[in-house]
Symmetry: C2
Subunit: 597 residues, 2 copies
């Protein structure tokens, strides 16, 4: 078993040199934060991840959470780890100081959250869901709701959930049937069955605050008739103490392929008198409020892709260094050596490392756009940064998670036959990673959002993508000054040209033939992930080359040039293939009759 060790050197490089942490921490609202503080936070978070969360990761997989008579018990060690997590203040860290948090920039929480996801993805889901619930209440709840629920949710004493899905309403939330009956006292009686509720029931917290989508009796049909309710497991007395058990029960938990440590609950609301709930914001606006949580959650699920890929890489690397097998091809000694010396094993390791770094760079860069969108003093800058964050959120979610499936699969491959044995641990990462491309909106849902709202149905259609393309092209052309990066500059330029072609085709096609555009949506999402992160990796290589030229002796920079070169040579050429598939591949998808499939 390897031990996860947080990649703080790369995190600091991305934060400081690519995202511009110094600029972000100087924005109004982040005065309390400084690069020094961030360094201290990442160090402490790394220790917590390695020392507390990592040791119970495999236990969570092997034992899983256990359901009995409506009660759910987390796997051994989870309850104690969660208490330590809360007591150390990690749950509060990303929250607003208004409610007891530290108010750090999003990009700093990203780095910390990546560690939780690497060390123990199943555990990390619990605070992630709580964070989403906090956002929804903080942005849309009444002062009373905020005062009643947020303090304990921010500390983590109480956890939160998102109750969206019903058996007939998965990706299509318009089909939601759960009901909310208004009561004389201003509360509501909630009834209905919700499925796939992450950490919907457990024994780690004193109370669980469910955010539930349901319909009022007079609600219009479809998405415009969905309201959002706070439905606590235990009612809260006016003095803040816990009152009666609410009428909601965990009917069962799912038997999933992975994230066994995270209970996925079927929740039954109002099977008896009715579950007491409280309306969040205005009636019938619940879906929009839920999307406040969803966007938060989507970037965080993309980050799960980064975290699980990083862990899988470290695990594979440790084996490749110690496993002696065969004499490497072209090695003149003819001696058997560690498999890291075999060219194809090196290729696999560099593939994992370079793609993981590219995903991390993109995710943090998008978080940096979010921080600027929230806190930049100039309104026009806020709009521009928000547009970029919006455009790339589905890419971070969809692309990083799809990549993580491939990367964790390569992690098994490096181990070979032993990797297929569960005790080795490589399988867990592969099984855990598989859900990330599904929950919080499948890759197809993300891709439709990308080519629709974020591209073709943007206020000025395609304006954000075009501005990004222009900025990337300017950078690529400037790279020609550095001899050592000439090949990378050409590969990046080819990638940008492919993204330009695909963007133009989608903009020209979306209105006249939306089905053809939609058939190219997922390839476009992948293309965008590759090209935009390829640009950020080329930037990274340029900075590294400059550092080396000016005498830096840090080996990190040489490694960064290698990972960026690998990414440019192996991943950027895929952009042209996706562009061709988008423009030429939709006819076959749409022409074939259903019966012929």
């Amino acid at each position: 078993m390897s031990t996860y060790s947080a990649p703080v050197r790369d995190m600091h490089f991305v934060l400081n040199d690519i995202v511009g942490l110094e600029e972000i921490t100087s924005l109004p609202g982040y005065e309390e934060c400084s690069p020094d503080l961030v360094e201290a936070i990442l160090d402490e978070a790394g220790k917590f991840a390695t020392g507390v969360l990592d040791p119970i990761n495999a236990i969570g997989d092997q034992q899983g959470a256990k359901w009995m008579g409506g009660e759910v018990t987390a796997a051994d060690g989870f309850k104690e780890a969660y208490k330590l997590f809360v007591d150390t203040g990690w749950n509060a860290m990303p929250c607003s100081p208004e409610f007891g948090g530290q108010g750090l920039p999003t990009v700093v929480s990203m780095a910390v959250n990546e560690m939780w996801k690497s060390a123990n993805m199943a555990f990390g889901l619990c605070p992630m869901l709580t964070g989403g619930a906090i956002e929804a209440i903080a942005h849309h709840g009444s002062d009373e709701l905020k005062a009643t629920y947020l303090p304990n949710m921010v500390t983590g004493t109480w956890t939160g959930t998102m109750n969206l899905t019903e058996p007939q309403a998965g990706s299509d939330l318009s089909a939601i049937r759960s009901k909310a009956q208004p009561q004389a006292d201003g509360s509501y009686l909630i009834s209905g069955t919700k499925i796939f509720i992450t950490w919907g029931e457990h024994d780690m917290a004193e109370n669980i605050i469910h955010l539930v989508l349901a319909r009022l009796p007079d609600a219009p049909p479809g998405v415009k008739g969905i309201s959002l309710f706070v439905v606590p497991k235990f009612l809260v007395n006016s003095d803040g103490s816990l009152g009666a058990r609410n009428d909601l029960v965990c009917a069962s938990i799912e038997h999933k392929m992975g994230i066994h440590g995270s209970p996925t609950a079927v929740m039954a609301f109002g099977e008896n008198a009715g579950a007491i709930g409280y309306l969040v914001g205005d009636a019938n606006k619940g879906l929009g409020y839920m999307f406040t949580m969803m966007n938060h959650a989507r970037v965080n699920v993309g980050l799960e892709g980064v975290g699980i890929a990083e862990r899988s890489y470290q695990h594979a690397l440790s084996y490749a260094r110690e496993r002696i097998q065969g004499a490497p091809i072209g090695d003149k000694s003819g001696e058997t050596k560690a498999i890291i010396h075999h060219p194809d094993v090196r290729r696999m390791l560099l593939d994992m490392k370079s793609r993981t770094e590219a995903m991390r760079t993109l995710a943090y860069w998008v978080a940096g756009q979010m921080d600027r969108a929230h806190n930049h003093p100039e309104a026009t800058a806020r709009v521009t940064h928000q547009a970029r964050a919006d455009f790339l959120t589905p890419v971070v979610k969809g692309w990083s998670t799809e990549q993580s499936i491939e990367i964790t699969s390569t992690g098994i491959q490096v181990w070979g036959g032993v990797g297929y044995i569960e005790e080795t641990g490589a399988c867990q990462y592969f099984r855990d990673a598989r859900i990330t491309a599904i929950y919080e909106g499948t890759t197809g849902i993300q891709a439709n959002d990308l080519i629709g709202r974020k591209l073709a149905r943007e206020k000025v259609p395609g304006s954000t993508a075009k501005a990004l393309l222009a900025e990337m092209a300017t950078f690529a052309n400037s790279m020609g000054n550095d001899e050592s990066l000439l090949a990378m500059a050409r590969q990046l330029n080819d990638g940008i040209a492919a993204m330009q072609r695909a963007t133009d085709w989608l903009l020209a096609t979306y209105d006249s033939n939306p089905r053809a555009a939609a058939a190219g949506a997922v390839p476009y999402l992948k293309l965008t992930g590759i090209v935009v992160s390829g640009w950020l990796m080329a930037k990274s290589a340029q900075i590294a080359a400059q550092q080396i030229a000016s005498g830096a002796s840090d080996d990190f920079y040489r490694a960064k040039i290698a990972t960026a070169s690998y990414f440019a040579a192996h991943q950027l050429p895929l952009a042209a293939a996706y562009a061709a598939a988008i423009a030429e591949g939709s006819a076959a998808v749409l022409d074939i009759a259903d019966g012929l499939l």
Copy 2:
């Protein structure tokens, strides 16, 4: 739960129109076989797959095989199904008539075997391993060994295994340490521990015939000192009856991510008096003999990729037809419909279908080359066909299995959140598929074989690849006559040009820089799989177009044009990306210092 239904229409099309079954059945040695007989066999095999093997597939996954005190019990229903399999004659079907088999062409066994793998991959491994053991004994064993073991192995009353791997000897068989001590009676005492022995112990057969690699006391080191032995579980008396239990025991079985129904044994030989074994062929030539089995097994493992992908596709398709969710984009009715109507779901389904058909076409075509290599009356033709089979065997193994991981992953994605729940069944295909890219030689091992022995170290280096490239180019140029296939012809030509560039680069690089060539080996394997099967799919489309032009009303031909068009538009453009990665991507892999990974 869906029920697997053998895709006999596509199988017949590939056999008859692409592989040339009529020509093969007219070859000397296959006189007993006719296209009519093949049709009858496929029909019966399909019924057996659906009626007997399919119903116990999920049971095998859920229960797994069970170990207790050295005995292994197969999952419920497996023993009964195996008895029926043997009694119906399916085990004997592909074997030589000399030993009681039906002596059918390899390509016919391929189609039948695909059904076993689709219906129940874990079950199918047992006859697959027996088949490999039969081949090794039939080709290299003495008449006495053949007479003693083959009749019962051919019927399936006894099963066979391959005992290669030891803890320190995985991909590198030169590190094998198991020992063989000659005895006065001409037998040997075998001792050592073997791991990853598929169906190494079970309760389905009366006897298990282990083929074991071990070293004689005076054996030279490395691969030139390995001999092959038959080591039966029960010794066989001179009258053919079963004698004493041999000194070998199943020490444990592995806890794997998938193929739970197939016990993967740790075998301990000679822990007491020594396990009695019998030398196969000459001393120290065991590795070569084992490769007789391995090549058989490699194509069959590639076929597992086809089979599990086909099953995953059928399973996803059945859900896509029945699951109602959301109003499809661009659908004017605005009504919620089955998800098959959503463009991205259609894209996923067609992606699964087209790649599976491409893999099937390539695997059967290679099997057709094997049949011609064995039975063609002209010696020069036999050599040419053998060279093609040799060149493409690692491609069928490596490419089809890697594809199957992606395709079964897409199978889960079509199901969405429900797909991640084990009860749905989609996870099993994904977990089962993952091993196929590892056992019988990892994808890296296949790729090194491809660029080495099959390309750069061929007697006339690259001659087989070049002849294939020329034949494919001639075909692509001839496609211009058909207006409807113009785009496909261009996409195929681009793919062929990419394979040509990559082939030239590897031939120019292999001797001077074998490590750089090896770093491009896996991309080249994938490129070759795409281009050669892209050519066969284009051939299929041309035939389908001709059939439609001449009035055929069979919808199958329209579907074939759609799958071929999809493959050409979505898969063939990847060839250029791989070619670029091969030529430009090795420096980063090799330049980075170990410590920087």
